[in-house]
Amino acid sequence: MTWIWSNLDLIWDRTLDHVLVSVPPIILSFLIAVPLGWVAHRFRLGRGLVLTSVGLLYAVPSLPLFVVLPFIVGTSGRSPLNLIIALTLYGVALMVRVVADGLASVDRDVRQSATAVGFSEGTQFWRVELPLAGPVLLAGLRVVAVSTVSLTTVGAVIGAQSLGSLFTDGFQRGIQAEIIAGIVATVTLALLFDGALVLLGRLLMPWTRATQATGRATRTAVEATA
């Protein structure tokens, strides 16, 4: 415990590093996954192609990717940018499937009604399909957020600073309190992000509160495969 009180500054700094690295991938992966998921949903050929490639991408282990990526994009292994790119790739790999499935879950009758009242394909996507797929997207994004926060720590072993640095440092110096502090801080951060996304979902999709049961069901389904 004494270690924690005398090192609050350090924990705070690493937390800031962590937030800086883990927030951009969560946002970026969502922005990138929506059009890709739409392609996978809309075109039969695109579906196989996009879903297979994101499936393979998701299978790539994180640490080797952190190591290989700098040689491909020319970033430094220690730079936060390297981690941000790698984590974005994972987020995209997870989200594209979710977006495709979410869009597919929109009732066919609803879609046809929208066409019948004269929505163009673009309007239909923004005003009908995307909002109705919202709860599924939110469930997926929550999984992305939590796993991104957790994965960010792995970067510490190749020298990228985050809360994971508390693990490597604590291990090397034999300070148990440091590792525990790191775990608690990481889990807390993950829960905070998760809570923030839930709140955001309530603000953007006020209608989902009435149908919370289905929301929970979709969330479980997403979690089961993630």
Binding site: S105, G182, I183
Partner: protein, 235 residues
């Protein structure tokens, strides 16, 4: 690009195929560790998952604990256990078994849950005992999703077993950490490529396996992807 050529040279260098640090030895270590961890985790997760799936009780608890476990950083768990039990393979086994339990558990109970209730009622109506229902109806029908859970667990273990080299002289992660320390980029990159290939190979095997275990009568109509909560319109 030169780094990749050097990594390729490292990969085909005969010197890297002899002795205790040979690539073949490391791959087998990695694979053996993965399978054993998968076994440990399955022993815990599959019976509990079946119980939850069959009775429908304790589901909230399982979902909640899966979510919480996902948030726990593996590296933290690994270093914490390693610090208390010492350097060696015990810590990775403990940490990765804990990590592999949630996806297997989820695969086991969602597999049972995805079964049409009418099918189970019908089985009960023709006089099957609860044990028979589990063995002859729920198990075969839920198998594809269970394999799906094992698949994501395997992927996670293979990936994270690389990290295990941080606390033990073991597996393919050794090349990464050794290369990192000595700035031998060819070794680091070559080792990473081997891990990635291994993960992709296992992913391929599971994809085939998942298709094979779908009972013949079911293969025709039912979506094998559990994320399809509502039936997908035929396209």
């Amino acid at each position: 690009m030169t780094f990749f050529i050097e990594a390729m040279a490292w990969l085909v260098d005969p010197a890297n195929y002899v002795g205790p640090n040979a690539i073949g030895v490391r791959v087998l270590e990695h694979l053996g560790f993965t399978l054993l961890t998968l076994f440990f985790a399955s022993v815990v997760a599959v019976p509990i998952g079946f119980l939850i799936g069959h009775t429908g009780r304790g589901r909230g608890l399982a979902v909640g604990s899966s979510g919480a476990l996902r948030a726990i950083p593996t590296l933290g768990l690994l270093t914490l256990v390693a610090l208390s039990v010492g350097i060696g393979l015990t810590a990775p086994y403990v940490a990765l078994t804990v990590l592999a339990i949630p996806p297997i558990l989820a695969g086991a109970y969602t597999g049972f849950e995805a079964i049409d209730r009418k099918t189970i009622d019908a089985a009960r109506a023709v006089g099957m005992s609860e044990g028979q229902i589990v063995r002859k109806v729920e198990l075969p029908l839920g198998l594809p999703l269970l394999i799906g859970g094992l698949r994501s667990a395997t992927l996670q273990i293979v990936a994270t077993a690389t990290l295990a080299a941080y606390v033990a002289d073991f597996g393919l992660g050794r090349y990464l950490f050794a290369g990192l320390k000595t700035r031998d980029y060819a070794e680091m990159l070559g080792g990473s490529i081997v891990v990635i290939l291994l993960a992709l190979a296992l992913e391929g095997i599971f994809t085939v396996l998942q298709k094979l275990v779908v009972p013949r009568g079911v293969a025709a109509g039912r979506p094998t992807d559990i994320r399809v909560g509502s039936p997908r319109p035929a396209r």
